[in-house]
């Protein structure tokens, strides 16, 4: 397959991007260390998180988006929690 020319460039975030990073940082860290009980509850599910809480969940990303009023809201972080041990 393609080995394409990889383009790397310096990135100066726009004010909107800086705000997005600030607004989502706590939720991102919370998801990375989600407590065992919640990881167990959402095993095999996609979750949408905002302001350090789960606002929706579903088995697929498509179904998760269908359950959200605005799935393109950049302050919503979507993550998938695996159901069990995976070999890809």
């Amino acid at each position: 397959m393609i080995t394409r020319q990889v383009k790397i460039r310096p990135w100066v975030p726009s004010p909107d991007q800086q705000m997005l990073l600030r607004e989502t940082e706590a939720t991102m860290q919370w998801l990375w260390d989600l407590p065992d009980a919640l990881r167990n509850q959402y095993a095999g599910q996609w979750v949408a998180a905002q302001d350090c809480r789960i606002v929706a969940s579903a088995p697929t990303m498509a179904e998760l988006c269908d359950r959200l009023a605005n799935p393109a809201d950049p302050t919503i972080i979507m993550e998938r929690f695996e159901k069990g041990v995976a070999v890809r």
Binding site: R9, D36, E79, V85
Partner: protein, 158 residues
């Protein structure tokens, strides 16, 4: 600064008989509609190419049918297990180094995990996995590309 360290992320339920944490990286994705979404990708050395579901492709503003067609095969060799996909170049913005990298991404027709595969991203970094400390170190190979201070504080487990 041309490197950063990421803690591994817990993605498995606590009941599995393996460590629930895996190598991961959080990035911003910049689509053609200029919408930016923050997502976490699992760093997967076994994946030939970066993988994401079709719905993410659409959220970012790509026209999925217009992408380069691909057929993805997993560890199951049966033809019926192959998945249709479309390939697009997607910009990954890396807050830890204040750089953007254009990576080919396969958007699968259906659901999939977000997997950061070898093609593209791995060409730009020397990546070291330290399972004993549950850390991944990313060292940018093109030092000239990173001329800015990081936008996020370094991982607390450095």
């Amino acid at each position: 600064m041309n490197s950063f360290v990421k803690r591994w992320r817990a993605v498995l339920p606590p009941t599995v008989p393996v460590n629930p944490k895996v190598p991961a990286i959080d990035v911003l994705l910049a689509g053609p509609n200029r919408r930016v979404l923050r997502r976490t990708f699992l760093v997967d050395t076994g994946a030939d190419v970066t993988l994401a579901p079709r719905r993410l492709c659409e959220l970012l503003g790509f026209d999925w049918p217009a992408g380069e067609p691909m057929r993805l095969a997993g560890i199951a060799s049966r033809p019926e297990c192959a998945v249709e996909a479309r390939l697009f170049d997607l910009e990954f913005l890396i807050p830890d180094l204040a750089i953007g990298i254009t990576v080919p991404v396969c958007f699968a027709d259906g659901d999939s995990s977000l997997l950061l595969g070898r093609e593209g991203f791995f060409d730009c970094f020397r990546i070291e996995f330290d399972k004993s400390r549950l850390l991944t170190r990313f060292e940018l190979l093109d030092e000239d590309a990173s001329q800015h201070e990081p936008l996020l504080p370094p991982s607390t487990d450095n």
